[in-house]
Amino acid sequence: MLDPLTMGLGALLLVIIGAAVSTEKTRRSTVLALRSLWLHKLRSMLSMLGIIIGTTSVIVLMSIGEGSMRDALEDIKRLGATNIIVRSIKPPEDGQSNRRSFIAIYGLKYDDLSDFGTIPSVTRLVPMRIFPQEVRRGNSMHNSRVVATIADYAEINKLDLQSGRFLVDEDDFLMRNVCVLGSKAASTLFPLDDPIEKEVAIGQFVYVVIGVMKDRMPTGGAGGSQAAEDFNDDMYIPLQTARGRFGERIMIRSSGSRAVEKVDLHQITVTVSDIEYVRPTGVILEEMLSNPRKHPRKDWALTVPLDRLEQAENTKRRYSRDLGMYASISLLVGGIGIMNIMLATVTERTREIGIRRALGAKQRDIVTQFLIEAMVQTGIGGLVGVGIGIFLVFILPILGQTSWMIDLFGQPGPPPILHQESILWSLATSIGVGVIFGLYPAFRASRLDPIEALRHV
């Protein structure tokens, strides 16, 4: 996808190239410039080095940025752009009551769930209760995160099954004692055999394993109130089953202390029918939850992945802008290199300038000629840089997998994705650098006195 600005830039490039070959004079100058580049290969390479390095680094850095940004966006999209996540959060203890309560009562209620269901834009509600429990099987034990939820959970979280099946509505309805294990939980409890149809226990209750999830990357907690989640330790059971087996109070034992919580639902994932309803629905949800009769304290939090998507895009824009600035320093240095070589060329070719003037070249013909030479140099430099950059973008992920690269730089990040707009941008900038830094030498060349220039040895 190219935005109009970039398209305009491309058109401008075409116009410049078109102009360079349109009249006999400019065509000759272009051919001559190419010829002398070819004639002095090493010198041209050296003078173009700044431009080459500049454009190469723009392409590579922008592509790396694009790659990691795409990765972050994928991550956010996994949370679902049409989703709104409402979570229970434990409010801070209020110092007013000196009644020591062992039971922390807070969070989303089943009432909230049915209230949410009345919003017309909402297409799906996935409630869940999440609490840590020890899951046992014979002598082996796994500290699992038990997620009590309904069948739709798999869909909104885009979970993939390795074997068996996920929970279905019937499991919930019939309060079946079934569970689905995360990959790590499964491999700890069933290191050798297939867990399907086997039994695991939480407390005195036994659950039959009906499915095992595929290994899944943890979601990065990309800032905000959403914490990072590792799905591989999970154990999924039907919501109604959890209600029946655990009741509303859940005791959490950890390292000698214990806490009892009464939380109806830890999280409700609200899916709306269209992306444009996300924000209005978010406002409605917020209003519903702000009802002081239902939630006297703010014991809930709203996360809108769409917001984070936009944040990420803003970050990307900022990142591109910063990169552009660094790259422009490199191109500036490259431009000075070009100016240097062009000034040397003007001195070296004083006689040629004199001859051309004698044969009828106007001052502007000389300016054009030297400008074209500078533009050809920086343009070719830009092309070479773009070529190297594209090559690197494709070779880096392959190189990154090799063991010595891992030794040096650690595990490779997300693979770079070729940032196509930066190709156009860096080409246009290189040519622009040629114009800017070629202007002074070209002007100097044109102001030479023809007679003096002819006498020059």
């Binding site: 009249t23 006999e24 004079k25 000759r28 001559l32 010829r35 002398s36 004639l39 006689r351 040629e352 004199g354 001859i355 051309r356 003037r357 004698a358 044969l359 009828g360 070249a361 106007k362 001052q363 502007r364 013909d365 023809p450 007679i451 002819l454």
Partner: protein, 253 residues
């Protein structure tokens, strides 16, 4: 009497060297008729090169008038002078002054390009014929570095003809050549003159000046003498230009 091709009246040129005015031309008046072959002679410092530069529109006089054809060139802008140079003038230099990056034919095309002419088959064949005219028909794709001095000078002559100039200006055209090659070059210029080309040449050698029809001697910025000369006839066996070739050049010379 043939039409006057150039006329200068009371031409002066004063250089400013570190605040001291240095008059180089002190009032030159001169007329050259169409078809003439003028040799300008004089010791160095006599102003003959300065005069040639002014006649070649490379320099402007401090005062005085210069009519090329009927146009007053003395007051023209730099751009206008450039136009005059590429339309009406042909240059031959002592140093040949070919463009080293170009082939023979490309060098011959240069004045046409600065006229803004589109290079097509017609202009190309004209330039190739001109290369043939000066005897370089087999070396059209060579670079100047691959040619001898005499050959380079012949390319320069072909180049000076490419725009069908009214006036050819030659600055010591044989200065860098041995005597045998000099004779060749002078024979060529003589032939062109015989075909009707007006030539103004600077030289300091008497036997080169002997090829011209008129000899101007300069001293201290003034014309000392202006004499009619009976030119050396073109030696037999030195007819570089085949008359048939001449008529076959597209666009004429």
């Amino acid at each position: 009497m043939a039409a006057t091709i150039l006329r200068v009246e009371n031409l002066t040129k004063v250089y400013n060297l570190g605040g001291n005015p240095l008059p180089v031309l002190k009032g030159i008046s001169l007329e050259v008729a169409e078809g003439d072959f003028v040799a300008m002679m004089g010791p160095s410092g006599s102003g003959k090169s300065t005069l040639l530069n002014i006649l070649g529109c490379l320099d402007r006089p401090t005062s005085g008038a210069y009519y090329l054809g009927t146009e007053d060139v003395a007051g023209m802008s730099d751009d206008q002078l450039s136009d005059v140079r590429c339309r009406y003038l042909g240059f031959i230099f002592q140093q040949y002054n070919l463009l080293p990056q170009y082939t023979v034919v490309e060098n011959i095309e240069v004045p046409l390009i600065y006229q803004g002419v589109r290079i097509n088959e017609a202009t190309k064949s004209r330039c190739e014929s001109l290369a043939g005219l000066v005897g370089l028909g087999t070396r059209m794709d060579h670079r100047p570095m691959q040619l001898s001095g005499g050959q380079q000078q012949r390319v320069a002559i072909a180049r000076s003809l490419s725009n069908s100039p009214s006036l050819i200006l030659a600055d010591e055209p044989t200065g860098n050549l041995d005597s045998a090659t000099s004779v060749e070059i002078m024979g060529l210029l003589r032939t062109l003159n015989a075909m009707g080309k007006t030539i103004v040449m600077v030289t300091h050698e008497n036997d080169i000046a002997a090829w011209s029809k008129r000899i101007l001697r300069m001293r201290d910025g003034l014309i000392e003498s202006d004499t009619i000369n009976d030119p050396i006839p073109i030696p037999e066996g030195l007819r570089l230009i085949d008359p048939e070739l001449l008529t076959s050049i597209p666009g004429g010379i």
